[in-house]
């Protein structure tokens, strides 16, 4: 391969123009008119560096070499580490991991436990969306709509009918599933990319409705004072409400500490996540789980084998939605306050990025990706501003170089040796 000068120079030039036209000049409102100012010098230096980088990439065709390298490395199989080979070992390590997670509140500080709870919510959402996108291969861009349905179901049931968390949780899940069913029933006959747009529209419709139906949902102000979950009727507040059994610290005769509430929420989230993991794990091995994957791979072959694509898709869609509903109800309980701002398209995009990064269909991958996606931005606060930018970039790069995700799912299988 010859190094090529002209294409590389053009690519570098285009990079500079694209960057400079938007980043180099800033619009500045001045009174009633609009002015432009030049960006600080370091922006231009950055642009020049970026152009040089593009030039070098193109000149030596590094991108092509890199993707070829990746392709060849993908062919050599990625093996699990030695201590995870057999099923007993896997079970042992899973037990150890769960044990460590249960003990985490003992050593973790309050802020960390809180963050871990948030991460667990994303794990749950990621796992739920993983059924729809990763396993069934249906791109759902309105997943946050079901999350919102779950959250508002609990908040509204509590405000108007006085339901507690535990009564509302199954209803929230069922309601989200119902929404999934009602939306999925007509639209799942559509081709993949139409489905993506329709679900995107659905997510927006839900948000607009919540925003404008002020008499019931409180509009942009949202709903506040949503009670926290109780432990068999025991509250975690300093004083019990009038109709409650009592408070946790009085019942066990220990001193009141606000930390118990945080720890309880964490453990609750952990249990919900474990249930989710378990249920989905079983589902994947059931005929329906196999049908999801078969459908993702080849719809026409599926149909000719007598599977009903619409019903299979619908089941994936409904189940995925119900997990979002559970996660939503828990989210509402944890925050104590919800408004439509929490359910924008950005949330759907974050959850999708988690599924894409983790590896479509792979549970472990999704869990690790959710942890990485929520904890990394917290570790580096100044990085937070660039978070969504990087998510977008990661999605593009993953699709180009490793569409199966970092930890792709593996079925037990046999391969025929060629030759």
């Amino acid at each position: 391969m010859q190094p090529s000068f002209m294409p590389a120079a053009i690519a570098a030039g285009v990079t500079f123009i694209l960057g400079a036209s938007v980043m180099g000049i800033r619009l500045q409102p001045a009174g009633i008119s609009l002015e432009v100012t030049s960006a600080p010098t370091h922006v231009y230096l950055g642009l020049i560096a970026a152009s040089l980088f593009v030039f070098i990439l193109q000149y030596f065709r590094l991108t092509e070499r890199f993707s070829r390298l990746l392709k060849s490395s993908q062919e050599s199989k990625v093996e699990l580490p030695a201590f995870l080979r057999t099923q007993q070992q896997q079970r042992l390590w899973t037990m150890l991991a769960i044990g460590a997670l249960l003990l985490f509140p003992v050593i973790g500080s309050r802020g960390w436990i809180d963050l871990a709870t948030l991460t667990l919510i994303y794990v749950m959402l990621g796992l739920g969306l993983n059924i729809v996108v990763g396993l069934a291969g249906l791109l759902d861009l309105g997943y946050v709509g079901f999350y919102a349905v779950g959250a508002y179901a609990y908040a509204l049931l509590n405000t108007y009918f006085g339901f507690g968390f535990w009564e509302a949780l199954p209803i929230a899940g069922a309601l989200a599933a119902l929404f999934g069913f009602l939306l999925g029933f007509p639209v799942l006959r559509l081709r993949g990319d139409y489905l993506a747009i329709v679900t995107l529209g659905f997510g927006e419709i839900i948000r607009i409705l919540l925003n404008n139906w002020t008499e019931i949902t409180g509009g942009p102000n949202g709903i506040s004072q949503i009670p926290k979950p109780t432990l068999f009727g025991l509250e975690f507040n300093r004083r019990a409400a009038e109709d409650a059994l009592g408070t946790f610290h009085e019942f066990f005769g220990i001193k009141y500490s606000p930390e118990y509430k945080v720890i309880f929420l964490y453990l609750l989230a952990l249990i919900l996540v474990l249930i989710t993991v378990y249920v989905i794990r079983r589902l994947i091995r059931m005929p329906i789980g196999r049908a999801w994957e078969a459908l993702r791979e080849d719809e026409i072959a599926c149909r000719s084998l007598g599977l009903n694509p619409t019903m299979i898709k619908l089941s994936a869609f409904t189940l995925g939605a119900s997990f979002a509903g559970f996660a939503g109800a828990f989210f509402a309980a944890r925050q104590g306050f919800i408004n439509p701002e929490s359910f924008t398209f950005i949330e759907s995009a974050i959850i999708l990025a988690i599924v894409v990064l983790g590896g479509m269909g792979s549970q472990l991958g999704v869990i690790l990706a959710a942890v990485a996606m929520t904890i990394l931005p917290e570790l580096a606060r100044e990085f937070n501003e660039y978070r969504m930018l990087l998510f977008g970039l990661i999605m593009v790069l993953m699709m180009i170089w490793r569409p199966q995700g970092l930890l792709p799912m593996k079925r037990p299988h046999m391969e025929l040796k060629r030759g």
Binding site: V14, I17, L18, S21, V22, M23, I25, R26, L27, P29, I32, S33, L34, E35, V36, S67, V133, G137, L139, L141, P186, V187, L190, G192, D193, Y194, A196, I197, V198, L200, G201, F202, E204, I205, I208, L209, N211, N212, I300, F345, A349, L352, A353, V356, E385, Y386, M388, L389, F391, G392, L393, I394, M395, V396, M398, M399, I400, P403
Partner: protein, 307 residues
């Protein structure tokens, strides 16, 4: 009677104004879909970038002390079309070409990633707030009938005229030029076109550039019409233009124009007679209804799934 009729006419005019810009954006979706069969999710962001670029040029030239308004506006239009075209080219090169030929889901996720990237890129570059621009073209005609007013602003006329000129030149390009013929061939059968010695990669790149340039025209026009821009406008505009493209029949150019106009009028009617808040809901519901009952749209051809 006259009063309600006048109000109705006013709404039709307003609807057609916005609708014709939707049509301009919808062309980008429909052309790309016609040729490579994927939805260019990042197209709405190109429109947003086009609006920013025209604001930058207008503000910059005004600051330099130029007073010739037609010159300023024309420069802004041309510059934003060119740079947006370069964006369209780059987007295709970076995010779509490497995944072309793989499964639909993969190309779609790559497109969404690109869209998120561009939105946040602009947010970092120009800030997340609304940026307002003083009206450049003011005034218009108004007629009074029995004490009721019917307005047609100069800006609305400009939007119609520019849209018609752009559409007409696109039509001429597609139907008369050599490159346009290659585009049509590419849409029918890519492999065969390639065998006949036409560089399909180049044709696809050209399609993206044209779509992006037209989105920039829409960005310029709507930017002047509304006078505000923020990094999030591409999302809703993209969705609506996509609705317009599907409504008219995706893959069909006249369909995109028709769909845009119908959507614009429907929206303005909803806002006028029902409620402004639910304007967007109506657009999306319309999309769902068309997809359910007539997925090929008004002017589209049915698609046969090949094995």
């Amino acid at each position: 009677m006259t009063e309600s009729l006048l109000y109705f006419t006013q709404q039709v005019i307003n609807g057609l104004t916005v609708g014709s810009t939707y049509a301009l954006i919808a062309i980008g979706y429909t052309m790309v879909y016609g040729i490579i069969g994927m939805i260019n999710f990042a197209h709405g962001e190109v429109y947003m970038i086009g609006t920013y670029l025209s604001f930058i040029v207008i503000a910059g030239l005004t600051m330099l002390g130029l007073e010739n308004l037609p010159f300023i506006l024309l420069t802004a239009l041309i510059v934003s079309m060119m740079v947006a075209g370069a964006y369209g080219f780059t987007i295709e090169r970076v995010a779509y070409r490497p995944v072309r030929g793989s499964k639909r889901l993969i190309a779609l996720i790559s497109a969404i990633g690109m869209s998120i990237f561009l939105q946040n890129y602009m947010r970092l570059a120009q800030g997340p707030r609304d940026i307002a621009m003083p009206g450049q073209i003011q005034g218009g005609w108004s007629w009074t009938l029995d004490g009721n007013l019917l307005n047609l602003s100069y800006m609305q006329v400009i939007i119609f005229v520019v849209t018609v000129i752009s559409m007409w030149s696109l039509h001429l390009f597609i139907s008369r030029s050599r490159m346009g013929r290659a585009c049509r061939a590419c849409a029918q059968d890519q492999g065969m076109t390639n065998l006949l010695g036409i560089d399909t990669n180049q044709i696809i790149a050209v399609t993206f550039v044209i779509g992006a340039a037209l989105a920039a025209v829409a960005g310029f026009l709507l930017g002047l019409y509304y006078g505000v821009v923020n990094p999030m406008i591409g999302f809703i505009a993209g969705l609506k233009a996509f609705t317009a493209a599907v409504l008219g029949g995706i893959g069909s150019l006249p369909g995109a124009m028709l769909g845009g106009l119908i959507l614009g009028v429907t929206e303005s009617m909803t806002a006028a007679y029902f409620s402004t808040e639910y304007k967007d809901v109506v657009a999306f519901s319309l999309l769902v209804l068309i997809l359910l009952f007539k997925p090929t749209g008004i002017l589209g051809k049915p698609e046969v799934e090949k094995i």
